[in-house]
């Protein structure tokens, strides 16, 4: 994806610049931007480094674990069909807490594990339905002329996302982050008088996008069978 976006930006920029006679500005722009990127990274090193250090303290001291337990009622509401002791449930908690605290690097591995566990949960669920559903799916696929290769035949219906997977991903995309550390760092680098001033409105905006996502997910979860 980025290969296209990056090439598009550079090619369109230079072509348009040549057309408008802005080639000298582009030469200067390349050198200035490269310098600026490194300066920005130096600011980021301090702010992000401090934040990750602080979060490590929160993790080691058991604060993150405690927050995960606090989150349980919310997760039960969002994922009523996942058994409480199931690994998927734990990974989802860790992913949500990491997202809320802005620990992107900790959120992604837990999120990937959660998706694998949700896939496993889906497989268990399919098995328990005495193969009835499987027959239905095979009929459906035959009717619609979907090709099936011998080996993949059993697994083809597993490539459909479960409700839990959809909800989990929508929640992740709606952003759960409480304090937008990166944006604060960027603002500080570009001379904001008060970089952190955005925290409260940012929390409100995040809350609105997340609440919209929750309402949408609950409606879809009730309305549609897998």
């Amino acid at each position: 994806m980025l290969n296209y976006i990056w090439a598009f930006m550079i090619l369109v920029g230079i072509a348009y610049g040549a057309f408008c006679g802005n080639m000298a500005e582009i030469s200067g722009g390349v050198i200035d931007s490269a310098k600026e990127a490194v300066e920005l990274c130096i600011t980021m090193l301090g702010i992000v480094g401090f934040w990750t250090g602080l979060m490590e303290v929160a993790k080691e001291s058991g604060l993150v674990g405690g927050l995960t337990r606090l989150l349980t009622p919310v997760l039960r509401f969002l994922f009523p069909r996942i058994p409480k002791e199931h690994k998927a449930f734990q990974y989802i908690s860790v992913n949500f807490i990491a997202n809320i605290l802005g620990l992107g690097w900790a959120a992604t591995p837990a999120g990937l594990k959660a998706m694998e566990e949700l896939a496993a949960l889906k497989r268990e669920g399919e098995k328990n339905k005495n193969g009835q559903l499987q027959d239905k799916i095979c009929n459906y696929k035959n009717c619609h002329g979907i090709k099936q290769k011998g080996d993949e035949q059993k697994d083809t219906h597993l490539d459909i996302a479960s409700n839990e997977m959809c909800i989990f991903l929508i929640m992740n995309i709606s952003s759960l982050q409480l304090i937008p550390v990166n944006i604060i760092a960027y603002r500080s680098q570009y001379g904001s008088r008060n970089p952190a001033v955005i925290i409260v409105p940012a929390i409100l905006a995040t809350l609105i996008s997340t609440l919209t996502a929750v309402i949408f997910c609950k409606i879809m979860d009730m309305g549609r069978k897998e």
């Binding site: 001291s61 490539d159 997977m165 982050q177």
Partner: protein, 179 residues
């Protein structure tokens, strides 16, 4: 009148105090653990450095060519009447595909208008309230070997739309309270 700004300013110190106090009370070797975490954070920043250099140069070229003003002016004619600045339209789209490419555009907006301008505030809120749709979906669904995503995309787009509208309205209504 500056309640919002004061509350925002309070959060970080209170947050830091709480985490250090909690760690100290739990007998965690706070300083050692902190240093370990900083090392991880530095690795993350160094990891994104090549991306930032590549994308900031690409945005720098776009900016210097004059095409961003052209697009912004063009799109602004359509979106300005509903209170949405044309300069934010490219950002809204790029943000769905790549958060690092979006970062390049955000920094460009900060450079041109300043982070404390109304459009700078709007940009900050937009970036804070949503995540990259297509990147997140492809990485996570790959882990679960899923190809049919069902209602994920529509939900993600809806959440992004809600976040964007909220950012614009919040920026319009709280700007005078914050600055």
């Amino acid at each position: 009148m500056r309640v919002l700004a004061n509350l925002s300013n309070l959060m970080i110190p209170v947050f830091i105090f709480y985490i250090v106090a909690y760690g100290f009370a739990a007998k965690t070797p706070v300083y050692d653990v902190f240093i370990k975490g900083v090392k991880e954070g530095l690795k993350t920043v160094v990891g994104i450095m090549p991306t930032l250099i590549g994308l900031m140069i690409a945005v720098g070229i776009l900016r210097a060519s004059g095409i961003l003003e052209f697009w912004g002016g063009f799109l602004g004619n359509i979106t300005n009447p509903i209170g949405f600045p044309g300069d934010l339209v490219p950002l809204t789209f790029v943000k769905m595909f790549s958060s690092s490419a979006a970062t390049g555009l955000v920094l460009d907006i900060f450079k041109q208008y300043g982070p404390d301008s109304k459009i700078g505030l709007m940009t900050s809120l937009m970036m804070s309230s949503t995540e990259t749709i297509f990147y997140t979906m492809s990485v996570y669904f790959m882990a679960a070997k899923v190809q049919k995503v069902r209602f994920t995309l529509s939900g993600a787009l809806l959440a992004t739309l809600a976040g964007t509208i909220a950012s614009v309205i919040l920026a319009q209504s709280t700007y005078s309270l914050l600055f």
